[in-house]
Structure formats: structure tokens, C-alpha cells
């Protein structure tokens, strides 16, 4: 009997195989059909999910390779479900951004399956398998379908993240040899007493930290990201930022913090300092970019920094009160979802501009408001969402993160607020350059949003407003998990 989660994982794989064997003319349509199917099953998962219960649900467990304690163990809690839903949302969004070749579609579907696996696997071996499985298609997508400088960017991306992964793998092997288990829940239970002891413990911490910090990415391990995001095709950039970057944050929440609570406490101020660098320096660098995609990529680093700010603030400092724990964790979860939605939307809009102009430098446009008011209007919504305007999705998550962080890390939080300001400055500059002033000659032939694009933009924007105004439906997914994790981290 194949369980619901396995079905969700297998559908995109089936889609990839179908694309490979069937060689259909319109690969994107086929991919979207499989997306719809997996989204349907993800929705069923949501429907079956008991929001009041804490802990793993809808668990499937099968023996796999008993000799190394590898199990096929998948299940969802609120966080996993949230990420499964986000993945189901980001992929069709990305597919609709541009017409991709058959091979690219198939690779994207493989990546989607791997992401579902990463977010639901509860045993390290299985998790790591899925985690690495995302890497190959991402590498190939950049290397084969990327733009200028793609070889360099792809190799850098691959080698950098792969090195991180190796460090993580070694750390986990060490833990396994000491404790004999790969089960996430069991490991988390052992975390407080120390998994290895002594220097080895720190080595393992460093290994896992490095692997995840590269993936998120956290300053200063982020330099692969602007190159990769810049050169990848629009749809791939959307997936990289919308879904793939969440694996790192997910790993921090699921692995690093539960497994090494003592180390986090000791290293806390340093970790927070790195996070602050991410939050403040990345939007500053974004301000200096001329390439729109690179600009959005840098802002993406900053926004993921908020997630880690909330997480480290409550686990690194002195003991937080319950309300701050809940606020920070809820904020982090919400921010994960919001960033996925908003950053993908920003890449989507940059893609629309690039399709029309053939270029995407910030100075290649001008006065668009006169020619394409709708495009400007919708794009502004995404920008305002990203800079945290109340009423849109970004604000709620950021407010809760800051609320939770302020109590234990007031000075770090105060500096982090600068990130909000620089983000605003960056977007204001972009808006001024793109939308205002006299219409640039090169833009005079632009078409405004067409019907097909509207079909994509309107639902995404409505979702942004819905989360901004009435976010309860998302909180319901993970409230029980937040309570449980707060207890675990306390």
C-alpha cells in the first residue's frame, strides 16, 4: 500500500518519466497537469491533517537498509505540510513563467519530487538522499539552460553546496557511529544530553552548520547564490528561491537546533552576528546591483536571514518567554511561506520584463507606467509585499519574528531593522528607475499584461493579500507544531 505522502512524492517523478518516454510536443502542459495532480494530493494531505494534534502524522514507515538503520520514514507535521503546500504552489507558478524545453520540464519535476521528499523524510539517510537529489537537476538546469556565464555559476553552485553536503554527511556518520540511529525524532531527544561529547561534538556541529549555511545561504557562504540565480532561467530561479532555499532553513529548524541546543547557546551571538550581516549587508549589496535578477537574489538572502534571526534569537540567548517563542517560530514559519511566494513572484515579474525587453538591467527600462500600467501595478504589489508593507503577506511574519527576537536579542533586532529600511530603499530605487520618468524608446513597443499572465498573477496576488489581512488559515496549519517545538527548544 502506497501512502498519501509517497503518492505526492511519486507523481512528479511519474511526470518526469512520462516526459522522457512520451516525448510530448507541449511538455509544459504535461508538467502542469502533473503539478495539478500533486497539488491535489497535497491538498488531500492538508485535508487529512489534524491541525490540533502535535507530532508527526500520516506516517509511513518501512524497513529499508536495516544494517545502517536507514528506514523509509515519511510523515508530516505542521512545518512539513506547510513546505509541501509551498512546493506545490511554487512549481506551477514557475512553470507558467516561461516555456521550458522538455528536458528542463522533466528536470524540474525530478527536483519537485526530491523537494517533497526532503520536506517529509524523517530519517537522515532518506532525507539526505532527497536533499542531494535536488542538487543534480538544479545543477543541470543552470548548466544547460542558463544564460550568460552559466558554466561557471553551475559549477560553483554544485561544488559549493556539495562540499557543504559532504561536511554534513560526515557529521551525521559520526553521530550515527556514536548513537546508532538516523531517526530525526530520536536524535532530537538525545540532543540535550550531547550526541558525541567533546571536540567531536563541535566538529559535528560545524559540519552540519556549514552544510545548511551554504544551502540557505547565510552570510558569508552566500556568494554562489547571486551567480546561480542570475544565470538560471526565470522558472528555475523561482524554484531555487521559492522552494529550494527553504531546505536550508528547514534543516536548521529540524536538525541543527534540536540536535545541538548547547552549542547553539554558546555560539549564539556569533550566529546572530552572521544573520545580521545577511539581513543588513545583502540589501545594501542589492541596492548596488544593476541586474534586476541579481538585485532580487540579494534581497532573497536578506529575507531568509529574518527566518534565521527568529530561530537563533529564541534558541541562542537566555530563555525566552512562551509568547516570544511562539511569536518567533510562527513568524519564521510564516516568513518561509511568504518568502517563497513573494520572491518567486518578483522573479516572475523580472522574467516578464526580460521577455519583453530581452535585457534586464535596471537602466534598460524607463517610464513603464505610461506603457504598461497593469504590469507596473501588479509588480509593485509584489515589491511592497517584499518590503513588508502592512496589509500584504510579508508584514505579519516579519512582525512576529521581530517581536519574538526583541526580548532576547534586542540589540541584534534593532540593527536588523536597518535591513527593512535598505530593502525599501532598494525597491524604491528600482521603482523609480523602471516605472517613472519619460517612456524609454526601447520600451515603447511593450505589451501590457496579457490574459495568460493575468491568470497567474491574480491568484498569487490574492494570496498575498489574504495572508496579509487574515493569516489565520496558515497559522492553523502549524500552530500545534509551534507549541511542540517551543517546548522542545525551551
Amino acid at each position: 500500500m502506497v501512502g498519501l505522502i509517497s503518492i505526492v512524492i511519486l507523481i512528479p517523478l511519474a511526470g518526469a518519466i512520462a516526459l522522457y518516454i512520451g516525448q510530448p510536443k507541449n511538455a509544459r502542459t504535461v508538467a502542469l497537469i502533473f503539478n495539478a495532480l500533486s497539488a491535489f494530493y497535497a491538498a488531500m494531505l492538508w485535508q487529512k491533517f489534524d491541525v490540533t494534534a502535535s507530532g508527526l502524522q500520516i506516517v509511513e514507515r518501512h524497513a529499508w537498509i536495516p544494517s545502517i538503520a536507514a528506514e523509509y520514514l515519511v510523515g508530516v507535521d505542521g512545518l512539513s505540510l506547510l513546505l509541501v503546500l509551498l512546493t506545490s504552489l511554487v512549481f506551477p507558478f514557475a512553470f507558467s513563467a516561461q516555456r521550458l524545453e522538455r528536458g528542463a520540464c522533466a528536470l524540474m519535476l525530478v527536483m519537485q519530487a526530491a523537494l517533497y521528499g526532503t520536506f517529509t523524510a524523517q530519517n537522515f539517510v532518506l532525507w539526505f538522499l532527497f536533499y542531494e537529489m535536488t542538487l543534480v537537476p538544479a545543477f543541470l538546469l543552470i548548466k544547460i539552460y542558463g544564460g550568460e556565464n552559466r558554466d561557471y555559476a553551475a559549477v560553483k553552485f554544485f561544488v559549493y553546496t556539495f562540499l557543504g553536503s559532504i561536511a554534513m554527511l560526515l557529521a551525521f556518520l559520526g553521530i550515527y557511529l556514536a548513537k546508532g540511529t538516523f531517526d530525526f525524532a530520536a536524535l532530537a531527544g538525545l540532543g540535550k544530553t550531547g550526541l558525541l561529547g567533546g571536540k567531536l561534538q563541535w566538529l559535528a556541529f560545524a559540519g552540519i552548520f556549514l552544510g545548511l549555511a551554504v544551502k540557505v545561504p547565510l552570510f558569508p557562504f552566500h556568494t554562489w547564490l547571486p551567480d546561480a540565480y542570475q544565470t538560471a532561467p526565470t522558472g528555475v530561479s523561482m524554484v531555487l528561491t521559492g522552494a529550494l532555499s527553504k531546505m536550508g532553513v528547514y534543516g536548521f529548524i529540524r536538525l541543527l537546533v534540536p540536535l545541538f541546543p548547547n552549542e547553539i547557546k554558546i555560539a549564539g551571538p556569533w550566529l546572530l552576528a552572521l544573520v545580521i550581516c545577511s539581513i543588513v549587508l545583502a540589501p545594501l549589496a542589492a541596492w548596488a546591483q544593476r541586474d534586476l535578477k541579481r538585485m532580487v537574489a540579494y534581497l532573497s538572502i536578506s529575507h531568509l536571514g529574518y527566518c534565521l534571526l527568529g530561530l537563533f534569537a529564541i534558541t541562542a540567548g537566555s530563555t525566552s518567554s512562551l509568547i516570544d517563542m511562539h511569536a518567533a517560530l510562527s513568524g519564521v514559519f510564516l516568513q518561509i511561506f511568504n518568502h517563497g511566494l513573494t520572491a518567486a513572484a518578483l522573479f516572475y515579474f523580472v522574467g516578464l520584463l526580460e521577455q519583453r525587453r530581452g535585457l534586464r538591467g535596471i537602466d534598460d527600462f524607463g517610464g513603464l507606467m505610461q506603457r504598461t500600467p497593469l504590469l507596473c501595478g501588479w509588480m509593485s504589489v509584489a515589491m511592497f509585499s517584499s518590503l513588508g508593507l502592512p496589509g500584504l503577506n510579508g508584514f505579519v511574519g516579519e512582525f512576529l519574528i521581530f517581536k519574538g527576537s526583541f526580548a532576547t536579542a534586542a540589540s541584534f533586532t534593532a540593527i536588523a531593522v536597518l535591513g527593512l529600511l535598505f530593502t525599501a530603499v532598494t525597491f524604491m530605487r528600482a521603482m523609480q528607475a523602471l516605472f517613472s520618468g519619460p517612456l524609454a524608446e526601447s520600451c515603447s513597443g511593450f505589451s501590457d499584461i496579457v490574459r495568460g499572465e493575468k491568470f497567474v498573477i491574480v491568484p498569487v496576488t490574492v494570496l498575498m493579500f489574504a495572508i496579509g489581512i487574515s493569516p489565520q488559515f496558515l497559522f492553523n496549519i502549524f500552530n500545534a507544531t509551534v507549541v511542540q517545538m517551543a517546548r522542545l527548544f525551551a
Binding site: T413, L421, F475
Partner: protein, 657 residues
């Protein structure tokens, strides 16, 4: 009715916002309908505001709150709510009434604009957001609407987006106010952390109520000052006032809205709303935070009044006058005259809207010329505009007895005179009164008197859709005095929750005579200086250096450009450079080390090991040829490999499981 309104206060901001969304959705097709929907939304808001006003009249110190849960996170809830009290009710009436006048005026002023419908959508949104600020019963909800006000002002200042200067002004407004908002945001976080709630009033547990206030402890001063940062940004106080004069790039009705009913009023309102936080631990009504409010207000008031004397743009003069008046209100709040400050805010709302719309009427008449030196002599050509403008000017200057501004200024003078810390604010306001009368006289003389110039040769009086709002506002500016006089200080009593008594003997007070003398002095100096004004300002002749200093707005913009802005830009470049060369440089160096080792091993392989292995390679070549087919660069092949690998894993799983 009373119970209905207390649970439906939220309808007041909702009506204009809904109107705005409707216009955005359908307005493009129907120009006329757009204006009608916007005005309808505003009328609905005004009507409900009147209903909301009624219960606050019936009970002294009336306060109705309606709190609800916004969302539950973890096991915690975040509650927000709406409040109706005299402060809110009075603001609601002023905003909706002034707003309505401005909306009607805009029909005429914007008649030619191709984005007519969008203008009305933004106006409605602006008004709705501001109404939301007023009725919010939670600092968080207030902040939400506060930022929406900021967004609306951004959209409206940059409404003529094809003008680079308008876009730059919009950006400047958004970013400058956001700098203040960052402080405000931190203040909110801190307050939330200390008091555990952001609700203002919550049956004794709200953050403005004694229990929570005493729980805040010693950080209260800093919290208050951080919140004040938000007010500094929004209300154009020094040092964040620089956006406000630039905001003149927007269409004139927008300036009227920003300077009278919305936006800048928000900052003063905020301080009044969270006044208990400022006043915690006050001795004789003095606290550290309030003292800082006073001094910021003093600096702002004097600086802006001085700059206003040396401006030539009709709207910029009014803009600096707004900055100066806002400083005055802050002083009043800071010395403890909360009611006086709010009264001046309300009165100012009427006459400043009147002045801006009057300026708009003038600009409309002289074909979008804004330099007062090029207007001259419009008195006869635009009689209605002139008459109403003169009323506005006298109200702003604070002419006592007949004009609302006179009474409220007298109240503020009264409040400052008894401030125990220092008398300097009091004297600075006295100087401010003279300066205000001076620059307004100068403006009136330049625009309406003297010989006509080219621009004013054929200036027609504006259509009635524009003059009617002027008349309404002029009437308000005059008759609003009735509730302000010390003989029957109805509004003050209403705001402070006491009953008003009628005592005619209080009508004549020494302070009134003082302000009468000062205004008289200001006006006469103005007439004397500018009686023969021509292309060059007489003051320019007399004091060229000083005049240049003031004309260039004390070079504050330039100083910011060369310091803060330049510094941030350098920081941004540096950040980018570090990224490319330091952080990424390290990564690349590590990569190079790897490559170096790779080369060393390769050459070792080739020279040492290879020689012996050469013999056995013929077999390997076959394998190599096979392998090279896999490295074909064909995506199908790669995909096949990926698919095969996956299949193998699935099989493995099926077999083992």
C-alpha cells in the same frame, strides 16, 4: 443607534477603501463614475462619523472599544480593535469633511488628467487609511494604517509619474518617513515586550491604562521617544522634514490632503493618542520624552517659518508654513496642552486645506505657474479665490476673535507660558506668530496685489466645482471659532472630557491682546517691506546672504545628500565590492587551491604512474569510448540516467520494504 455605531466604527475607514478598490477595478471605463464613487464613499464615511460623534457628545469622557482577535499564533493571540472617543470622533469629522471638500475640488482641478480615475482611487485610499489611523485601538493596527497612509502619499505625490521630479519626491517621502517608522517599529516591539499588549484600551489591561503603564518601568522614556520617531517622520519634524516641501510635486489637491487632513496630522495625532506613555512619571507635567518633543517642535517651528519667508513657490511657502505649524502643535503637546494641540490640528486642517485649494485655484487660473513673482494682481480676476484665501491667511496668521487659528494659537500660547522648564518655547512661538503673519502677507501681496504679469493677464476665476469647496472651508475656518473661544471652550472640554461653561468675561484675555499685537506687527511689517515688491524680493536686496541661506532651505537637503545619502551609497558599493572580491574571493582562492592540488596529482599520475599503466590502457580505451557516449552533453542521456537511478531506488525500496 448609539450601540450600533460603537460596534461598527470600522465601517468609517472601510467605506473609502472599498470605494477605492471599486474604482481601481472598474474605473477605467467610467471616468465620471469614478469621482462619484469616491465622493459617495467619503459621504458615507462623513455620515457615519456624524453618527459616531453623537454618543461622544452625550457622555463626557465617552469611550467605546471593540476588540477582536486578529490571529492566533501558537497558543497566543494577537488582538486588535477599534476605539471611539472624543479625540477620534473630532478627528473623524475633520478628516471626512475636509476630505470631501478636496474630493469635490479635484473634479475640477483634475478634469483634464488622463488618469482621472486612478487619482480618485488613490484619494479614497488615502482618506480611508487615515481614518483607520484615527479609530485604531491598537498600536499595531495604527501602524498598519500608518504605513498605508505612507503608501497612499507615495502614490499620490508621484502621481504625475512621467515627471522625474515627482517620482523622486515620492521616493523621498516614502524613504524619509520610513526612517522614522523604523524607530516607531522598534518602539512598538519594545512596548509589546514590556506591557504584553498593544491594545490601547482593554478594560483596564490596555497599554495606555495604568496597570500596563506601571509595568513598562524605566524604559518608558525610550519607548516614547522611539514612537515619537514615527511622528517626526510623518509630521515633518526636524530633522526628517525634508520630504514635506518636496511633496508639492503632487497635484495640488494631494498637497491639500497631505497637509491638512491626512498624513502630517497622523504624527500629531499619534503623540496625542499615546500621550499617557509620554506622561508616565510626570512631575508638573514634565517628562524627559515630552521635553524632547517640545524642543523638536521649537526647532521645527522656527526653522520652517524662517525658510517660508524666502520661498517663491506658492505651494512651498504653504508647505513650510505647515511644517512650522506642526512644530507649534508638537510644542503644545509637549508642554501638556494636548487639547490645545489637537484643536490647532483641527482648525489647521480647515484653513490649510482652504489655503492649498486656494493656491490650486490660483495655479489652475495662471496655467500651472507656481512662482509668486510671476502672478501679481489676481485680486480682481479671481475674487472668490481671493476672498477665501484672505480668510485662510488670517486664520493661519492667527488673527484673534474671528478666525479659528487665532483662538487655538492663543490656547497654545497659554499652555506654553506656564511650562516650568523654560520660557524659550513660549518666546519662540511669539516670534513664530510674527513670522507667520509676515510670510503670509508677503504671499498675499505678491499673488493678489500689484500689477499683473504675463501669466496673470488672462486668469479666469475657477469653476464653481472648485470655488464651492473654498467657500465651505472658509466658512468652517471662521465658524469653527465658536467652539474654541475661552468664553465657551466647548471643544477643549469635549476633548478633555469635562463640561463647558459659558463665561463671556473670559473672552478678553491678556494673551489675546498679545497675539493681536504680534499679528498686527507681522502684517504691518509685511506690508511695509513688500509694498513695492517686484521681481527681486526686498529682503533679497537687504540681506542677500541670509536670504540665500533661507531660500536654499538652510542647505539641509544638500547636507543630507553629501553625508547620510552619500555614505549609504558608499556602503552599498562597498558591500557589493566585498561580496565580489572578499567573500567570493576567498571562495575562489579555495577553489584555486583545489585546482592546484588537482594539477599536482595529474602530473604525478602522468609522469610516474602512467608510464607503467600505458600498457594496460588499450582495454580501458574501450571503456572510455563507452563512457564518453554517456558524456554526450545530450540532456536526454542525462535524464535517462537520472530516471534509471530513480527507478533503481524505487525498485530497491520495493524489494526491501
Amino acid at each position: 443607534m448609539n450601540s450600533w455605531i460603537t460596534t461598527n466604527v470600522w465601517l468609517i475607514p472601510t467605506a473609502p477603501i472599498v470605494a477605492s478598490l471599486l474604482i481601481l477595478a472598474f474605473g477605467k471605463a467610467a471616468r465620471r463614475a469614478a469621482a462619484a464613487v469616491a465622493i459617495l464613499g467619503q459621504i458615507v464615511a462623513l455620515t457615519i462619523s456624524i453618527f459616531a460623534f453623537v454618543p461622544t457628545l452625550q457622555t463626557h469622557g465617552f469611550r467605546a472599544i471593540q476588540n477582536f482577535t486578529w490571529f492566533t499564533f501558537g497558543e497566543q493571540t494577537l488582538r486588535i480593535g477599534f476605539v471611539l472617543d472624543p479625540l477620534a470622533a473630532a478627528m473623524l469629522l475633520m478628516i471626512t469633511l475636509v476630505g470631501l471638500c478636496i474630493f469635490v475640488f479635484s473634479i475640477g482641478y483634475m478634469a483634464e488628467d488622463k488618469n482621472f480615475y486612478r487619482f480618485f482611487a488613490y484619494l479614497s485610499f488615502f482618506s480611508g487609511a487615515m481614518l483607520g489611523v484615527v479609530v485604531a485601538n491598537s498600536l499595531l493596527l495604527l501602524f498598519v494604517f500608518w504605513d498605508l497612509v505612507g503608501l497612499a502619499s507615495f502614490l499620490l505625490i508621484g502621481f504625475w509619474i512621467e515627471r522625474p521630479s515627482a517620482a523622486a519626491a515620492a521616493k523621498k517621502a516614502f524613504i524619509t518617513t520610513r526612517i522614522g517608522d523604523m524607530g516607531f517599529f522598534l518602539g512598538i516591539l519594545w512596548l509589546y515586550h514590556r506591557s504584553g499588549t498593544l491594545l490601547f484600551y482593554d478594560g483596564g489591561r490596555g497599554c495606555l491604562e495604568p496597570i500596563a503603564l506601571s509595568a513598562i518601568g524605566s524604559s518608558v522614556t525610550l519607548i516614547a521617544l522611539l514612537i515619537f520617531c514615527g511622528a517626526i517622520g510623518k509630521s515633518g519634524q526636524f530633522p526628517l522634514h525634508v520630504w514635506l516641501p518636496d511633496a508639492m510635486e503632487g497635484p495640488t489637491p494631494v498637497s491639500a490632503l497631505i497637509h491638512a487632513a491626512t498624513m502630517v496630522a497622523a504624527g500629531v495625532f499619534l503623540v496625542a493618542r499615546v500621550y499617557p506613555i509620554f506622561a508616565v512619571g510626570a512631575i508638573n507635567g514634565v517628562t524627559t520624552s515630552l521635553t524632547i518633543v517640545v524642543w523638536i517642535g521649537v526647532i521645527t517651528g522656527l526653522m520652517a517659518a524662517l525658510i517660508a519667508v524666502a520661498q517663491f513657490d506658492i505651494k512651498r511657502i504653504l508647505a513650510y508654513s505647515t511644517v512650522s505649524q506642526l512644530g507649534l502643535m508638537m510644542v503644545s503637546l509637549g508642554v501638556g496642552g494636548v487639547a490645545a494641540g489637537i484643536m490647532h490640528l483641527l482648525a489647521h486642517g480647515f484653513f490649510k486645506a482652504l489655503l492649498f485649494l486656494g493656491a490650486g485655484s490660483v495655479i489652475h487660473g495662471v496655467h500651472h505657474e507656481q512662482d509668486i513673482r510671476k502672478m501679481r494682481g489676481l485680486r480682481k480676476l479671481m475674487p472668490v479665490t481671493f476672498a477665501t484665501y484672505a480668510i485662510g491667511m488670517m486664520a493661519l496668521s492667527g488673527v484673534p476673535f474671528f478666525f479659528s487659528g487665532g483662538w487655538t494659537k492663543e490656547e497654545i500660547l497659554h499652555a506654553t507660558s506656564s511650562w516650568p522648564r523654560s520660557h524659550l518655547p513660549h518666546y519662540s512661538i511669539l516670534i513664530g506668530v510674527i513670522l507667520t503673519a509676515l510670510y503670509m502677507t508677503r504671499q498675499i501681496i505678491y499673488v493678489f496685489f500689484g500689477n499683473r504679469r504675463a501669466a496673470s493677464e488672462h486668469a479666469p476665476e475657477s469653476p464653481s466645482v472648485m470655488t464651492l469647496p473654498l467657500i465651505v472651508l472658509a466658512v468652517c475656518a471662521v465658524f469653527f471659532s465658536i467652539v474654541l473661544t475661552p468664553a465657551w471652550p466647548w471643544l477643549e472640554s469635549y476633548l478633555t472630557g469635562h463640561a463647558a461653561h459659558f463665561e463671556p468675561r473670559l473672552l478678553i484675555q491678556p494673551m489675546i491682546l498679545v497675539s493681536l499685537a504680534l499679528v498686527g506687527a507681522g502684517v504691518s511689517i509685511g506690508i511695509w517691506i513688500y509694498r513695492r515688491a517686484d521681481e527681486t524680493d526686498p529682503l533679497q536686496h537687504a540681506q542677500p546672504a541670509l536670504f540665500r541661506f533661507l531660500e536654499n532651505k538652510m542647505w539641509i537637503d544638500e547636507i543630507y545628500d553629501r553625508t547620510v545619502i552619500a555614505f549609504s551609497k558608499i556602503l552599498a558599493r562597498l558591500s557589493d565590492w566585498m561580496d565580489r572580491h572578499v567573500w567570493d574571493g576567498l571562495v575562489q582562492d579555495i577553489g584555486r587551491i583545489g585546482q592546484f592540488f588537482g594539477r599536482v596529482t595529474t602530473s604525478a599520475d602522468e609522469r610516474v604512474i602512467n608510464a607503467g599503466v600505458d600498457e594496460s590502457t588499450s582495454g580501458a580505451q574501450g571503456l572510455g569510448r563507452l563512457m564518453s557516449r554517456w558524456h554526450s552533453g545530450q540532456i536526454q542521456t542525462y535524464l535517462g540516467a537520472v530516471a534509471l537511478g530513480m527507478l533503481a531506488l524505487v525498485l530497491l525500496y520495493a524489494w526491501l520494504g
